[in-house]
Each structure stands twice: as structure tokens, then as C-alpha cells.
């Protein structure tokens, strides 16, 4: 008997209700196509990205998702806090305040932060990490006034040089815990964290301190493509024990949306409806509780 047949209809319905489609998973869709596609599939949650939202217009996008009855579960992304040049740093902070306003306009309380890599020519990781903490301190009140929570996303260590100097959940929690839990949380993304032998205890820690702001899914498949940006796997195609992650996050007390965020050209080449249908089928198959 497969896990799928063992899952009760109640659990499947509950799981489906928590599903959120990050728009990068079906990048081939425009925002109106995304709203229509979600309606056809019965999907109620979406994770949005700033660039396509800005292109469409923030107010227009906010109206579109509101009229479609969609919950915006997160906005990606603020961050890139690691510039040491004062002008670049001021620009980054201004851009993050804009991101906070966009999140508020879209009706989401979660702004995902990708912290930034090393400045060109620098090898000083501790200093870059401290600039992330400083930037959070400067933004946290602004975000609170907009009722937006900052969500620090640890990225896979292969991105530490050029994208994100926060590489583990423990490190993200160390940063987040300098601030109140309702102001700064963390993102648990299976793609970035699956390899970590301490991840179980760190998810427990994140849950116990009320820090899990978002839970995102993608699978790990090899070989990695050049540049290692667009090689995330469809759920079930790779090495990640997604069910195990879902159970740990559930046990840690997180009951929020489960967002599927897969950057993979092979999904983008297909009709969006077909890609989404496959994602949903995999989501149920690989996330139902084990017995």
C-alpha cells in the first residue's frame, strides 16, 4: 500500500489548504495567468517576487491577488545587506524599506531576506555577517510599523560568497534572536538545509522560540548546473526526505503555509497548468505523514 492510499482525506485536505505556489516555480506565467491558474487548480496561496510585481505595478498586483481571493504567503526578497560602501549600504536600506512597503501593500506579513554575499574583493565573512545584523536593527521598527515580519533565509553554503553569508538555520536563528520573535523570523527551505546533520534540533529550536516565518520546499538533484542557481528539483526527484522535514516543522508547532519554490527551466518550458498539476500531485505524495 502506498503512502498516498494511507493518507486520510482529512490530512490531504489540510495539506492542500496549506499549499502555496511560489511564482518562480511557474515563471512562465504572468501575474494574471498565475491568478487564473491558481483558481483553476483550487490553489489559495502564492509567494510573489518583487521584480514581476514591480513590472506589473504594485497596486495593480495587490488588486489582482485580492480580487482573485489569493493569500500572498511571502514576498521575495529584501536583503543584500553586506555592502561596506556607505552609499551602497544606504541604497540597500532604502530598497529594503520599499520592499517592506510592497509586502504590506500585497497583504503579506512575511518579507523573505537573502542577506547578501561578500563585497567584491573582500574575504571578511564575520564583518559581512555583522553588517547583516546592523541592517536588521535599522529595519526592524520600520517593518513592525508596516506589520511585516523580516524572515531571514539561510541559503545553501554554496551561495556564501556571492549571495548569502547566512548558511545554516543555527546561524539565522542566532541573528534573529537578537530581535523579538514577532519582528524577525527565519525561513526553513529544504533545498538549502537538507544536508545539515543538526537540522532536526535547529527546527525544534526555531519552533520553540516561535521563529518559523516560512517553510519552503524544493528537492536536491544532481549534477548541479553551471552557476548552481537553476538546478532545484521537482518534489520527489531528489535526495531530500520532504516528509521528514514536514513532520519536524509540524512538530515544532508551525501551522502556516507550505510554499513550493522550484527554480528549474524544465518546469518553465511546460504549460503552467501541467507543471502546477505535477507539483500538487508530488506535494501530496511526498508530504503525507508516515504511519
Amino acid at each position: 500500500m502506498s503512502d498516498e492510499t494511507l493518507a486520510g482525506p482529512v490530512e490531504r485536505a489540510d495539506l492542500f489548504a496549506r499549499f502555496s505556489l511560489n511564482q518562480q516555480t511557474v515563471k512562465q506565467w504572468s501575474l494574471p495567468e498565475l491568478a487564473d491558474g491558481c483558481a483553476r487548480a483550487g490553489v489559495r496561496g502564492v509567494g510573489l517576487w518583487r521584480a514581476p510585481v514591480q513590472e506589473y505595478g504594485v497596486s495593480a498586483a495587490a488588486r489582482l491577488v485580492r480580487d482573485a481571493g489569493l493569500d500572498v504567503t511571502s514576498l521575495c526578497r529584501g536583503g543584500f545587506f553586506t555592502a561596506s560602501d556607505p552609499k551602497e549600504r544606504a541604497e540597500a536600506l532604502a530598497d529594503n524599506r520599499a520592499a517592506i512597503e510592497e509586502a504590506a501593500a500585497l497583504g503579506t506579513d512575511t518579507l523573505v531576506l537573502v542577506s547578501g554575499g561578500l563585497p567584491p574583493g573582500s574575504r571578511d565573512l564575520p564583518a559581512a555577517r555583522e553588517r547583516v545584523a546592523d541592517a536588521l536593527a535599522e529595519l526592524v521598527t520600520y517593518a513592525a510599523e508596516a506589520e511585516v515580519r523580516l524572515a531571514i533565509e539561510p541559503l545553501h553554503p554554496m551561495y556564501a560568497a556571492d549571495r548569502c553569508v547566512v548558511s545554516t538555520l543555527a546561524q539565522a536563528l542566532d541573528l534573529a534572536e537578537r530581535f523579538p520573535a514577532e519582528r524577525v523570523g527565519v525561513v526553513v527551505d529544504t533545498y538549502h538545509l537538507w544536508w545539515d546533520d543538526t537540522i532536526g534540533s535547529q527546527i525544534e529550536r526555531a519552533g520553540a522560540t516561535g521563529r518559523i516565518a516560512a517553510f519552503q520546499l524544493a528537492d536536491w538533484v544532481t549534477p548541479l548546473p553551471a552557476g548552481v542557481l537553476l538546478g532545484r528539483g521537482q518534489l520527489g526527484d531528489g535526495a531530500v526526505d520532504l516528509r521528514w522535514f514536514r513532520e519536524r516543522v509540524d512538530e515544532a508547532g508551525y501551522q502556516g503555509p507550505i510554499e513550493v519554490e522550484i527554480f528549474n527551466p524544465s518546469l518553465w518550458e511546460r504549460p503552467g497548468d501541467e507543471a502546477l498539476a505535477e507539483v500538487l500531485e508530488r506535494f501530496i505524495t511526498h508530504l503525507v505523514h508516515s504511519r
Copy 2:
């Protein structure tokens, strides 16, 4: 004044004496070319790999390096312990016993272990990690009798699925500490470990417990190539603070060889003498102590 001019001649001589050339750095050289090239450059230590040694013949290779007066600082690699199939597992153990004998024949006391990834279709990282510990337990006496120390190398987390389920120095030490320090150590390789915010304290731990079996250098450069195997950077070209690592490892009490192991086709395309000269110049420039 540059760091180079600040380095005293004594420190430079001491550093140079600890230099070891891993043969993968100058893969264009045959074993006799390696021996000749090292003699020309005054290099006294080499790290060898099993495949080229076997191709040349283990006894002949042992005689060659002995006659050339070279110290073999390590042999790469044993490991690949994670198969769950009993036959594959027995083959892996037999192959590791052969690797131990080859290390002894070559006169090195350090066999580097790359633990292996997930078996095909498996998502059970904890079980794979436990099989690594089981294999170590089966090999440790055999290795001790050959006066060879097993050196667990944590590989970058981007290799966790297909190459090595041991991803951090903390995890490697947790494994090694199940056995006596003189039997099982760890490899500190900057390429694999540079991103870890706990690496300073873990190097301290490794030193305090006498576990540092080898110290290897390569720099981290982006973008990564497809497959992420051959993108290691020449010393000084990337994000790694090599001097910081050297100082931490020194402070932890390690006084052994410092091996340069760079897998990069752009080094292999050049005359070996030229590639080695550049490596040596970078080694001194980027490793002298700061003042």
C-alpha cells in the same frame, strides 16, 4: 608595505618546508614528471591519488618517491562507505584495506577518506552516516596495524548527495571521536569548510583533541562550473581568508604539512613548472602571518 615584505625569511622558510603539492593540482604531470618537477622547485612533500599510483604500479611509485626524497603527506582516497547492499559494502571495505596497504607502501601515515553519498534512490542521510561509522569501526584495527591513520574529510555540503554525507568539521569530529585520536583524524580543507560560521571553534576542538590529520588549501571562486567538481580556485583568487585558516590551524597546535589541492583545468592546461611556481608564490603571499 605588503604582507610579503613583512614576512621574515625564517617564517617564509618554515612555511615553504611545510608545503606539499597534491598531485591533482598539476594533473598534467605523470608521476616521474611530478618527482622531477618537485626537485626543480625544491618541493619536498606530495599528496598522491590512488588511480595514478595504481596505473604506475604501487611498488614502482613507492620506489620513485623514495628515490626522489619526497615525503608522501597523504594518499587520496579511501571511503565511499555508504552502500547498503551487502556485496557492495564488502567490496568497499576490501578496497579500503587495499588503500591502507597502498598508503603504507608509499610511506604515508595519512589515508584521506571521502565518506560517500546517498545510495541511489535513498533519502536516509542518518542511516548513510551511521554506515560510515560502522565502516570506520571495521577498518580501524587494520589501519593501525599498517601504521596508517584514517583521515575523515568533510566535503562541502554541495556534495552531500553524491559524494560525501559528512559535510562539516563538527560532524567529522563527532565521527572521529568514537575512535582513538591516533587512529582516526580529520582533514581541514579550506575549500570545503570556509563558509562555516563555527569553523574557528571546530578547528580549536580538532586541535585540542589531536585530530588534525591534514590541512589542505584551495580557494573558492564563482561562478561554479556544471557538476561543481573542477571549480576550485588558485590561492588568492577567491573568497577564502587563507591566512586566517593557517593561523587558526597553527594555534590549534598543528605543525604538519600544508597541502595545496586545486582541481582546476586552467592550471592543468599550463606547463607544470609554471603552474607550480604560481602556486608556490601564492602560497607564501597568502599564508604568511598577519602582523
